[in-house]
């Protein structure tokens, strides 16, 4: 049965599911019901080393770069409206394949074209992130974002990280007003 985390909380994936080999990180949100342009939320993942940065642009997995160089991380593709039950976008991760010098997998969600569409997270409903055991389909942990993010347009949803030989999950839910570009720069991606 999935454990529900609160913001700031963390959980050992390795302890909760000792046979864990691969995970599906599922992100979902409610499609827009009010008038206006669709909410196009984009999931992305930064493969981050001990210095808090990516090794290179290939470590930034998003709708224009669906697979990591090592092949251990795969983005399942862009969902532009939030339509559909369950996960709207997903990332598949084979844990043993994550390079040893990568310490954290930072999962981010951003709103596409937020500035032009005048959208922010405060307007998005029912956003969640969940981790599923890819082999058994069992949901391990879930984090529901129920707060109003008002001016933010980019957010670190969660982190999957190594800690003392285990894989752990941390519920973050912290936003950035300056969008995916600013977030990417913070992690060392060359966004020129």
């Amino acid at each position: 049965m999935a454990i529900s985390l609160q913001k700031g909380g963390n959980l050992s994936l390795s302890k909760t599911d000792p046979d864990l080999r691969a995970v599906l990180v599922g992100l979902g949100w409610a499609a827009r019901t009010s008038e206006g342009v669709d909410f196009d939320l984009d999931a992305s993942l930064f493969m981050v080393g001990a210095n808090g940065k990516v090794r290179g642009d290939a470590d930034f997995i998003f709708y224009n770069q669906l697979k990591s160089g090592c092949g251990s991380i795969e983005h399942t593709g862009d969902n532009k409206t939030g339509e559909g039950e369950g996960d709207d976008e997903a990332l598949k991760i084979t844990l043993a394949g994550v390079p040893q010098d990568i310490e954290r997998l930072v999962v981010a969600v951003t709103i596409h074209d937020a500035a032009a569409r005048r959208q922010n997270f405060g307007m998005v409903q029912d956003a969640f992130i969940r981790i599923v055991n890819l082999d058994t389909d069992a949901e391990i942990v879930r984090f529901d974002l129920s707060e109003d993010y008002s001016t933010e347009t980019a957010m670190i949803f969660a982190e999957i990280y190594r800690h003392k030989g285990e894989w752990k999950f941390k519920a973050v839910g912290q936003g950035y007003a300056d969008g995916l570009g600013a977030l990417a720069i913070q992690y060392g991606v060359d966004v020129a």
Binding site: Q6, K7, G8, G9, N10, E147, A171, Q174, G175
Partner: protein
């Protein structure tokens, strides 16, 4: 050798550092990179009699009361963002100067306005509290607040207590609900 403490862990400082005279409690964290109110962590100390209570409010050392009356405990000042390298807040304890009727000094860390700002230790990057030998700065014990304090907003890190003629340190790592005010009152302070 630094001991990384889990919740409830225990360290006999006198064994780790025989002849301990000065202790420094260091508190550090990274400034907030994401949007929202800054993370303002506050270190504090409570000088207690044998009954676990302060003699008076002046035994509560914190950002608004930086020095104990006898000078045995000194707080180096409030850091409201976590900016700067190394320890962001420091409490220095001169063991020989602690009055005879004081049996114990407890060390705590709280998040300023945690409830209003909706913050907890897990949201803060690289937050820790540690205990150093004041002579030579060898780290004796450390608690990883970001990782192990996660959903807490206040924590009793540990206590220095008399054992005969020696001082020992007991790591507590216990969360406390309610913030600095209620925490201080639990030690007998009129907050």
């Amino acid at each position: 050798m630094a001991i990384s403490l889990q919740k409830g862990g225990n360290v006999n400082l006198s064994k780790e550092a025989p002849g301990l005279k000065k202790v420094v409690i260091g508190l550090g964290w990274d400034p907030r990179a994401s949007d929202g109110a800054a993370f303002d962590l506050d270190g504090s100390a409570f000088l207690q009699k044998a009954d676990g209570k302060v003699r008076g409010d002046s035994d509560f050392i914190f950002y608004n009361n930086l020095k104990s009356t006898d000078g045995s405990v000194i707080h180096a000042g409030d850091n409201t963002t976590g900016g700067g390298d190394g320890d962001d807040e420091k409490l220095t304890i001169d063991l020989a100067a602690v009055p005879a009727e004081i049996d114990k000094v407890s060390f705590c860390v709280t998040i300023h306005e945690a409830e209003q700002r909706k913050q907890n230790f897990g949201m803060v990057a690289k937050a820790y509290i540690r205990c150093l030998n004041g002579d030579g700065n060898a780290e004796l014990a450390r608690y990883d607040l970001s990782e192990d304090g996660s959903t807490e907003t206040a924590m009793i890190f540990g206590e220095l207590y008399r054992a005969g003629s020696e001082w020992k340190f007991r790591a507590i790592g216990q969360g406390f609900k309610g913030g600095l005010g209620p925490l201080a009152r639990s030690f007998g302070v009129n907050a």
